[in-house]
Symmetry: C2
Subunit: 236 residues, 2 copies
């Protein structure tokens, strides 16, 4: 059996050894969900940036640029951070630059891993299948919220830990607790997560459709992987 | 309503503002449980030390010294880190110096709080009553295990968050998830925690009696509070 562990925040990732492992970076609301939506709708590669200006400068290189502040698309940007916006059009062959603070940090702090995947509910089963074909240890790296534990990322981690039980054991307390939480609340994920702090922030911004999308399982049969600092769809 | 939040590790405490709050430091297996056992059996104050030698030097000042390495009492020390050892004798008026790495760190990183309490199951209800008499915000600071999330401290935090629901609300994801976990597993705490990583380590050391003690509710009607870097029993 391979091993599985969960890290609840980029602020704790230095306590884990990533070498030889598949790290699944997860930022459910909404960075990694938006990435999967983008890849599923034709985007061929994504670069992430912590700040707006670096992201904006990618336009000169022919990238679509996506960024949001306070719930609104940044002036002059093509898209915000909404995953459902990517569903309205097909972006075949286009490249995307997007800003995300928590997500970018989690990806950059996962560099010593053997492979980095992008975790989201809309491609949940595809990610499971990919991982089970690799036979490597797994660490789920929750992007969290400004360094703190957050519920949606941690519950995804619990769901993944549970789905991988037949191939990946765990003596990690984080995995044990989140598997239990997912067993109890997984059947009413949206209802439970509506109590979570970040979902409340999102609801205040009126983006209910994004929340629904981010919590929908298995819309897409693709895996997002970080290759040379870019997120790409991979076939396997 | 006052607010309540949970911090899962001393490595994350810098993300929280402690000012004006009651911080409850918790290291269930076994530092804070041992402190409560010691206070309940006559010890009038406890100083904690991260290293053995500083602890040993307190003997000259008339302190009892308690320390353990690899499951055994350190040579020349009066006691180990076992809470049940304190139940065998009455230590009226004595002072205690003890070593604990995770616990000492959590206490020292809580200094900016208005009050620091010592959390343990054997004085659970007394701590609840004390907190509810103060009308302050609460942060539960889990000592964790080498910086990582651990199950027993987090479940205690969930139990406390749940017991304080009538006076302390929370929009903190950590509190929400641990309350849920305690609702699901609280009725079989020992059985559930036997799967946890640190409980497994302790079981390997043959200290089943310590585990039982650490998970027993309301043996004592006292509160442990840190005053001038010393843990003391307080009346209220």
């Amino acid at each position: 059996m391979n091993q599985l562990e969960i890290c609840f925040s980029p602020e704790l990732i230095h306590l884990h050894d990533l070498e030889g492992k598949i790290v699944v970076v997860v930022d459910i609301f909404r960075a990694t969900s938006t990435m999967i939506a983008a890849l599923a709708n034709g985007i061929e590669e994504i670069q992430t940036f912590a700040d707006l200006e670096s992201c904006r400068s990618m336009r000169e290189k022919g990238y679509l640029i996506a960024g949001e502040r306070n719930g609104k698309t940044v002036e002059g940007f093509d898209l915000g951070n909404s995953p459902v916006a990517f569903l309205e059009e097909y972006y075949g062959g286009k490249k995307l630059a997007m800003t995300t603070t928590n997500g970018t940090l989690a990806i950059s702090k996962s560099q010593s891993a053997d492979e980095i995947l992008i975790g989201a509910f809309p491609n949940f089963s595809a990610t499971i299948r990919y991982i089970q074909a690799q036979q490597k240890d797994v660490l789920i790296h929750c992007a969290g919220w400004k360094g703190r534990f957050n519920l949606e990322d941690s519950l995804y981690a619990g769901a993944l830990a549970k789905a991988l039980e037949s191939t990946h054991s765990s003596d990690d307390d984080g995995a044990l607790s989140m598997k239990t939480l997912f067993e109890k609340e997984g059947h009413q994920l949206k209802q439970y997560l509506s109590k979570a702090s970040h979902a409340k922030r999102l609801q205040n911004q009126g983006i209910e459709k994004d929340i629904d999308f981010c919590l929908t399982l298995d819309l897409y049969d693709l895996v997002g992987k970080v290759v040379n600092d870019r997120v790409r769809p991979i076939s396997f």
